[in-house]
Amino acid sequence: MEIKKTAVAGTLESSDCMVTVEPADKGLQLELESAVIRQYGRQIRKVALETLKRLGVRKGRVSIVDKGALDCTIKARVECAVMRAAEHEGRINWGGMIR
């Protein structure tokens, strides 16, 4: 999936995270900010990178500001930001690309 424009999903409310996705010339960069980065930073990165891989994102800058989000919320926000950035419209591949 190609990142065509900057897009944001999520909020800075408790139990949520804000994900920003921006186009980049090469590679995938992931930045993470979280109050629980020592305990859960590795897990949050893992979930985000797996989600980006499933979505086929090979190039882009992704920034996550975590406010105590569960894994399911991190996936949902990354997916939403990527889909917006890729200007995806139409049916969603639930259970396939989105799972």
Partner: protein
Amino acid sequence: MNNPNKYRLRRTMMFLNCQKPSLIKDPYVYKPDSIMLDLEDAVAEREKDAARYSLYHALQEIDYRGVERVVRINGLDTNLWREDVRCAVAGGCDSIRIPKTENADDVRTVEYAIAEAEREFSRPEGSVLIMAALESARGVINAMSICDSSERLFGIALSGGDYSKDLQVSISGTGVEFMGARQHMVIAARAAKVQCFDTVWTNLDDMEGFRREVEIIHSMGFDGKSIVNPRQIPVVHEIYTPKEKDVIFAEKVIKEIDTKKAQGIGVFTVDGKMIDIAFYDGAKRTIALAKASGVYKGDL
């Protein structure tokens, strides 16, 4: 189609905005019978897509511990509802609530989309149930045909906000403006052997008014009430839990009717009250509700 969840206990159905992770992550701690994961009115227009991704993963990954997961889709007058249905069915929801249901065709339209989604996502046919929210005078008038519209339909719900607008009245807090709709809907639901649910009470500062309203709708025959705050749940459950004396009486009625029937006796007395077969189903319902509420440990 025989879905064992069709007649499950639904005293409380708590609305939760799918856009808010803090709301949908652990509502089971409040022990509602059902949760209503909302993709419709609570979700801002520009966040409809975000709400769907949250819904899908919440359904897939959060253990709601036996609480029924109903999804309120967007209205049939939008271009959102078909994808809402695919998302909810793919995620594994138990039921779908149709907002602004006007007639039986609305239910059948959604039923067709659900069946398609069940096939697409390899879910058993008939595993997803339907409830219909009646939000207009026309919808209420058509309650009977809506109740009869689909084997998947487990119940109808009054949606008071939109209904009062359509009726051109304001919500008084006394319930007088809903009297006709409530009575009509309960009768239609009972005739079709489906459940009936009352509208939300939004004044959270008036818990006495809330209690009065729950007592009224309970005595009218409603199966439960829509809830907007966890504080409302224990009040509804308390009012809907059969009292000990009613459970004891119901148990006696069932046992006596079974015994007397075998002896060829049709009419007799229990605790000084005349009893015949007409009391049987009511007594059975009391015991079933007592069991479901965890207050009956007998052998019936």
